[in-house]
């Protein structure tokens, strides 16, 4: 099962844990409902879309309200440090959360004490605090964008806000930045660097570059990174290896964006709606057929929508 740790931008939202579900354009945890705009709610909705298609259990959420003052985030760190020992997850993803090193370290010690080793993923504040605390290498996957890979590559920067100017945050420098992030031990075992081209890398090399379909309008849309993290988290929790899940997730995210026919003003929910279609197209493509065999997924159990001809480039 997948566990999702993150915050909701509402000060009144309580610290809640439990199964997450999707009903229409809302995410539910217990009786609490959350709008899907961006951030952790977009990650949750995307993960659920994937898990539903794969007939897998819904994710488990650790959520708290926080608008940046940190109270909800600190509560989450404390709760996780005290309660993770009671549960068993295949993968845990850390998302929007205030990067608070002491609280995070306590959570990591609790994870280290578990009798099993969950796959650890991080994006957003979860990724920032993993680097700040010197624990990036304990993670299996980060999903930075161009600005964030520059931050990971800058061994001095405590936050992307302080990334030094000579470490150029240009897309064409991404391979160099990946190399530098690994040199200074500030990268996870695998990376997806999202952008016009999505780079999947480990410390040895760039494993894959996904650049199709190319939809320029996706870059300004808030939440496209959150959907990518949600998709890859769900695929990894399903049992697919991290590198293959990363490649498939990048393709699915780009296809979902393509099918939404977006403009820079499109909102993320419009893209999330297309994830099932994109997922089916990817898992039915010849190249990704090994994904099916890898997790012994019975194709006949999947509601297969045949890929249609693509008329837009």
């Amino acid at each position: 099962m997948l566990a999702i740790v993150g915050t909701i931008p509402d000060e009144e939202f309580p610290l809640v844990t439990g199964e997450l579900r999707l009903e229409g354009d809302r995410v539910f945890i217990g009786s609490n409902k959350i709008e899907i705009n961006r951030g952790t709610a977009a990650l949750i909705a995307s993960a659920i879309k994937v898990l539903e298609i794969l007939n897998l259990p819904l994710p488990f959420g650790y959520l708290a309200g926080d608008i940046g003052l940190g109270k909800g985030s600190k509560g989450l760190y404390k709760y996780l440090a005290e309660n993770l020992k009671n549960v068993n997850f295949k993968a845990i993803v850390f998302h929007y959360i205030l990067p608070e090193v002491d609280g995070f370290n306590r959570v990591m010690f609790a994870i280290e004490d578990l009798p099993y080793s969950p796959i650890l993923l991080a994006d957003a504040g979860g990724m920032y605090v993993a680097k700040m605390s010197g624990q990036a290498q304990r993670f299996d996957l980060f999903t930075p964008d161009a600005g964030e890979i520059a931050f990971l590559a800058d061994e001095e920067a405590p936050h992307p806000f302080y990334t030094r100017g000579f470490i150029l945050q240009e897309e064409n420098r991404v391979p160099d930045l990946i190399k530098r992030a690994y040199e200074y031990e500030n990268a996870s075992r695998y990376l997806i660097v999202k952008g016009n081209k999505d780079y999947i890398a480990d410390k040895n090399s760039i494993i894959a570059v996904i650049d199709y379909p190319m939809v320029e309008a996706l870059e300004p849309i808030g939440g496209t990174g959150d959907t990518l993290t949600g998709i890859v988290s769900a695929l990894i929790a399903s049992g697919i290896s991290i590198d293959k899940a990363a490649i498939a997730a990048a393709k699915i995210n780009r296809l979902a964006g393509y099918y939404a026919n977006p403009t820079p003003a499109t909102q993320i929910f419009e893209i999330i709606e297309h994830i099932p279609h994109a997922l089916n197209e990817v898992i039915n493509s010849k190249k990704e057929s090994d994904l099916i065999s890898e997790r012994n997924l019975n194709v006949s159990n999947i509601d297969i929508e045949r890929p249609r001809d693509r008329t837009r480039s």
Binding site: G70, V129, S133, E148, F151, P158, Y162, A265, Q267
Partner: protein, 180 residues
């Protein structure tokens, strides 16, 4: 705990305790004392100490604080009329905030990126149509508050943001306003 697990636990390599901490630099000691009192009353995890040699401005005392909460703390101190002269990371006091902007023109829309934050607006109506990037919890909150409003009418991130991501969005917002 088994011996194996003890060894395993030792593999966690923690960075120095000052990671994620910042210094507030003030003009004189009385401002430091007032700021300490205000911030402690509000529950911030702070301490007063001597400045490192790299800091060449201000008095001989600084306040160490959680750097990520810089925006919130600066607003509180500005309202109390004791704005800090400087805010710098403890780990590298010479680091300065990002001052490079990346601009992308989408025809009707213009996207401005500062550090890890992107703000996109409609060039005809000046309406903010998307905010993306960032990782602190005020980013989704700021997006919720700012989307659909014009650059002229929106409450700026400086007024309602709390973190360094909010700070980066403020820079992107100021650059967007400058280009209108």
């Amino acid at each position: 705990m088994s011996i194996f697990k003890k060894f395993k636990k030792k593999r966690i390599h923690l960075k120095e305790k000052n990671q994620g901490r910042g210094f507030l630099v003030f003009a004189n000691t009385s401002e430091v004392i007032r700021a300490e009192s205000i911030l402690k009353d509000r529950g911030f995890d702070i301490r007063v100490m001597g400045p490192p040699p790299e800091i060449r401005t201000g008095c001989d005392m600084v306040i160490e604080f959680p750097l990520i909460e810089a925006m919130n703390i600066q607003r509180i101190l500005t309202e109390a009329r004791i704005p800090p002269l400087q805010i710098v990371p403890v780990s590298s006091p010479l680091l300065r905030p990002v001052d490079l902007f990346h601009i992308k023109d989408f025809g009707r829309y213009l996207m401005v990126r500062a550090a890890n934050m992107k703000l996109t607006f409609d060039k005809e109506t000046f309406t903010i149509v998307n905010i993306s990037g960032g990782g602190c919890p005020d980013v989704p909150y700021l997006a919720k508050e700012m989307l659909g409003k014009t650059l002229k009418d929106v409450v700026s991130p400086r007024d309602i943001g709390h973190t360094l991501c909010g700070y980066a969005l403020q820079l992107a917002y100021e650059e967007a306003c400058r280009r209108c």
